[in-house]
Subunit: 198 residues, 2 copies
DNA sequence: GGTGTTACTATACGATAGTTCAGCAAGGAA
DNA sequence: TTCCTTGCTGAACTATCGTATAGTAACACC
């Protein structure tokens, strides 16, 4: 009954990288940045410790990859067209969708932002991606305001709106029951109404 | 020229604890939660490693003490009366004051919230303190609305307002230049006007 | 001025961190 | 089948983690 340590099948680099990124996300969701260690991630992924360095060069490399992929998924979600909804309404729905407004996703997001404030490599990656995110929101706001004939400073409104949405994430990361999807949706609409009309 | 390792003078437990808490804050501001280690904090405070355990029992104990003190300072700041300002105006000024709207303070805050989402000991402490913070904001909002004869759901408005303010902190932690004191003040006022009047 | 309390130092300890690297083996190419 | 590339393993390595604890010395008290 000797347990034969069945070796992992060989995967393409892209597949293995995605698998390791998923494992890293699970570890961060479970234990924050202190849960992001070589041992934990390798165990979660079911691979040997050396494989992380092999694919990402270092743990920092993996962290950057996780951050970049999450951000890209985020932007894809808020830019996805939703039939029957205006662009601004679609934006709000995306932000409270199960894909984004998920407890684990937001915990990871909070953890990574904490690292961005400290880790120069991650901050550089952040700078590149944040502009895209912000631009998408500015565009949606400008379009909605124009449709309702309201002149607004879309940049300024977007900055405040992003803060509001970030705050949802912080609250929900810590105490999910106090910030439900319905709460967030209502708060978004109440915030936006004076600026871009009903 | 033998360097005599001059021993530290004895301090009262209260003084020494405060000194260690300050050192911990400096370390967290510099390196996030990964900067919060026995060696770094002891070196920053200029004391031996053992002293942390002696005064706080464990590193977790020190972290909770840091969190609790920051929260209490925070609440004291927003509850401090400011002559010539209404209570709600004083609240906004407190939130953008150098005492609270400081880059390092907000970096520490962001880091600690990330830990609260993960660390049960810290979360318990958070639960006790967050209620006080929220209540102070609800009271200020209700007072302002009543003064202007506007019926509002102060709880709901406070929840959204807290999110907005949290978002300022997140943004400023990561990119201080994109969220100045003036930006935050203006965003607060724009947010509050529809609810509690000019 | 002796005595007791305790703030404080310093070292030891086992656990765990991230990285390196020699070697194994899977699977496509010839 | 044989060879070769390379995905992958696993142990070794040094550094650093948090905690425990024995020993030292400063200060209050009688």
């Amino acid at each position: 009954m000797a347990e034969v340590p069945r070796r992992n099948a060989r995967l393409s680099p892209a597949d293995r990288r995605a698998l390791l990124e998923d494992a890293a996300r699970a570890c961060i969701a479970r234990g924050g940045i202190r849960g992001f260690t070589v041992d934990k991630v390798a165990a979660e992924a079911g691979v040997s410790r050396g494989l992380i360095t092999h694919h990402f060069g270092s743990m920092d490399g993996l962290l950057v990859a996780v951050y970049a992929r999450m951000y890209r998924e985020w932007i894809a979600a808020i830019e996805a067209p939703r039939p029957g909804l205006t662009r601004i309404a679609a934006l709000v729905e995306a932000l409270v969708s199960p894909e984004i407004f998920d407890h684990d996703v937001l915990k990871i997001w909070l953890t990574l932002w904490g690292e961005v404030a400290t880790n120069p490599v991650l901050r550089e990656e952040h700078r590149k991606l944040y502009g895209t995110y912000r631009a998408a929101i500015v565009a949606a706001l400008a379009e909605a305001a124009a449709a309702n004939g309201r002149p607004i400073d879309a940049e300024t409104v977007a900055a405040a709106f992003i803060c509001l949405v970030d705050g949802f994430g912080v609250q929900r990361s810590v105490e999910p029951a106090l910030m439900t999807e319905a709460d967030a949706r209502a708060a978004c609409r109440t915030f936006l109404r004076p600026h871009v009309g009903a």
